[in-house]
């Protein structure tokens, strides 16, 4: 066997390799994980626009009603069914309430529900999925059975029954939706934990003497953040649609509290005579859902450190 190269040759080879990597577009300076994530995110212009649009909508929903001279339940005498004007840009509703303040407040309420649903489902789903995937065995069997049980429940039926008894409030609607949606995330997280548990870097940590807590919190959980955040983002989009549907059916947020869904319901009869009043809240539902989905897709790439898209 020939000697395969002295130390010096080795070092030269490494330098050549480093130079090649730099030519590929890697910075000489190390960039932090956060910085790299942002750099990958920026490569998705649609998602950047979505992010700013979502921030703009959120700001409008929360600041708008506060700046407005009207409140969402204030009836302005003698001004029902007004068209758009300077003082009422969206017009007024059937009983003379300012529609812009109602749509913005409705957006605020719909968004609150969506975010609470996303947070709750992510929390419940992550904890249950993580415990099932990490510990395996009978723990997994029990939790997976529970997950599947919730998954096969016909959601709309339960919603009908539960909403009649406990529905109507903002938070009760959110909790009901979360209770139906968590199994999806639990399954994803369980799969991730099982997948990462077998990875060689976890084996390496065990070989170094790491205890289960360290394996879970230092090695597995940080690697599941990406997919979990993506799922949470997508859950926001889905929750907005479901909340609107429920409120439209009268099973969600009850008037006079506005939500995007029940405002659409108010005007469904006026689609021909006064279409803007249905289309405006509908447009917000569509915008939020679209933006959340675009954002989720970009985050999927950005949060994956091995993704080289755009390099």
């Amino acid at each position: 066997m020939t000697d395969l190269g002295s130390r010096q040759q080795l070092e030269m080879a490494i330098e050549a390799e480093a130079a090649a990597l730099e030519a590929e577009g890697l910075d000489i300076e190390a960039r932090s994980m956060r910085r790299q994530t942002w750099d990958r995110f920026r490569k998705h212009p649609v998602a950047v626009v979505s992010l700013f649009l979502l921030l703009a909508l959120t700001t409008a929903f929360w600041v708008g009603p506060w700046l407005s001279p009207y409140t969402y339940d204030q009836v302005l005498a003698g001004l029902p069914n007004e068209g758009p004007s300077l003082s009422h840009p969206f017009g007024t509703d059937q009983i003379g309430r300012d529609l812009m303040v109602r749509v913005f407040t409705g957006g605020q309420i719909s968004m609150t529900i969506a975010i609470v649903v996303a947070l709750l489902t992510t929390f419940i789903g992550t904890v249950i999925g993580a415990v099932a995937g990490f510990f395996g065995g009978w723990v997994d069997n029990v939790l997976s059975a529970l997950t599947n049980l919730f998954l096969i429940v016909p959601g709309l039926l339960v919603l009908l029954v539960v909403a009649i008894k406990w529905g109507g409030g903002v938070y009760s609607t959110a909790v009901i939706l979360a209770l139906l949606a968590w199994p999806v995330i639990a399954r994803v997280v369980r799969g991730l934990f099982i997948q990462f548990k077998e990875q060689e870097f976890v084996q390496a940590a065990i070989a170094a003497g790491a205890k289960p807590g360290r394996i879970m919190f230092r090695h597995i959980i940080p690697n599941t953040f990406g997919p979990i955040i993506v799922n949470a983002t997508l859950a926001v989009g889905a929750a907005i649609v479901i909340e609107s549907t429920l409120s439209f059916l009268g099973l969600g947020v009850r008037p006079p509290t506005p939500s995007l869904g029940n405002i659409i319901q108010d005007y469904r009869g006026a689609i021909d005579s006064d279409p803007t009043k249905v289309l405006l809240p509908g447009l917000f539902v569509v915008l939020i859902t679209l933006c959340a989905n675009f954002l989720g897709d970009a985050l999927r790439d950005a949060l994956d450190p091995t993704s080289r898209r755009g390099h």
Binding site: M1, D3, L4, G5, R7, L10, E11, A13, I14, E17, A20, L21, L26, A30, M33, Q36, Q199, E200, F201, Q203, A204, A205, I206, A207, A208, G209, A210, R214, R218, H219, P222, N223, P305, T306, R308
Partner: protein, 348 residues
């Protein structure tokens, strides 16, 4: 005689096959099925075999990354298989592992410095001291200290494998299990990593268990070589003995597949083609496990599993009809009047 650093005695690792609604056990995969071997201090023991022969499981069972089903592993006279959790954690400082896949073996979310320092932190060293040691080690494996700030995906395969080696070295172990450490790398990078391994072996006085399927690489780095087939060691000998006068027909056939550097010899080289596929380790053949594919198998081989016996000094083989110097596999086949499928190596 010195005491071996590692002794493995009749080690078995079986995996249950569970099926159906109630997860009833319907079978057992005999991944490792009765392996006995030892490793001397400063020695490299090569372990070769086809994919699925249990060599990776053997490596992980020695470290109890997979709990062995039966048998014992002894490190410097102390039982590894009998160690409790705390003792095991201490023993892990002595025995480390380098993995095959340099992509999967490093946590993508940790900077390289933290990855290498982690074993030290687990064993209670403070951050500053650990980082100093990592800086020194990065130099040892041919990288720069400021590489520590970067993340694994920013490195090439060869560099990642160096990082994996640095992590294995950081606790100052005496034994490292190298689980196909170069199979995922380009040939040119393989040479660099092999040289690095030899350098650190000399410098730190390490013992290696070098698991691989590439016979040329194993021949280059090993002192002794064990050949595995379906969860068992079929031949174990000094490197030169094994490569020059193989005793087991399986070894002969494996060796016939190795290209030779001399172009004239390479032109003449014939490969012995084994009949059939590797049988399932869930349902190994009776008698000698190799008999279904062995060109010289006889009746006794179908019933009687051969023991690993010493055919010459330090040369062990599990075969009823071992080949030897002047009595090659081809000779034996001709004597039995059988056909041997020989093919021109160049056609493959």
């Amino acid at each position: 005689m010195t005491q071996p650093i590692l002794e493995v005695n009749d080690l078995k690792t079986h995996f249950p096959i569970r099926q159906g609604l109630f997860r009833r056990q319907t079978g057992t995969v005999l991944a490792v099925d009765g392996v006995t071997l030892y490793v001397d201090p400063h020695e490299t023991l090569g372990v070769v075999g086809e994919s699925g022969c249990g060599k990776t499981t053997l490596g992980r069972s020695i470290l109890r990354l997979i709990e062995p089903t039966a048998g014992t592993v002894t490190y410097r006279g102390e039982s590894v298989t009998g160690a409790d959790k705390d003792r095991m954690r201490q023993l892990r400082k002595e025995m480390q592992i380098v993995f095959q896949d340099p992509y999967a073996s490093l946590n993508p979310r940790m900077p390289v410095r933290d990855i290498i320092a982690e074993p030290l932190r687990i064993h209670g060293m403070d951050r500053k001291e650990a980082n100093d040691r990592v800086g020194a080690l990065l130099g040892k494996v041919g990288m720069m200290a400021d590489h520590g700030n970067r993340y694994p995906h920013e490195f090439s395969g060869g560099q990642r494998q160096r990082i994996g080696i640095a992590r294995a070295l950081v606790l100052d172990p005496s034994l490292i299990i190298l689980d196909e450490p170069v199979s995922a790398l380009d040939v040119s990078i393989q040479a660099q990593v092999i040289n690095l391994l030899e350098e650190i072996q000399d410098e730190f006085g390490l013992s290696f268990v070098f698991i691989a399927h590439d016979l040329s690489v194993v021949r280059h780095i090993s002192d002794r070589v064990a050949v595995m087939y379906l969860g068992q060691v079929v031949e174990l000998a000094d490197r030169n003995q094994l490569y020059e006068t193989p005793a087991h027909p399986y070894t002969s056939s494996l060796l016939s597949a190795v290209p030779v550097a001399d172009p004239n010899a390479e032109r003449e080289r014939k490969r012995i083609l084994l009949e059939g596929d590797l049988p399932s380790p869930a349902n190994p053949p009776s008698g000698c496990r190799f008999h279904t594919r062995c060109p010289i198998a006889q009746d006794v081989c179908r019933v009687d599993p051969p023991e690993l016996r010493e055919v010459s000094a330090g040369h062990w083989a599990a075969c009823h009809f071992p080949t030897g110097p002047g009595d090659s596999l081809i000779n034996q086949v001709q004597r039995l009047g059988r056909d041997l499928r020989l093919v021109e190596a160049r056609e493959h």
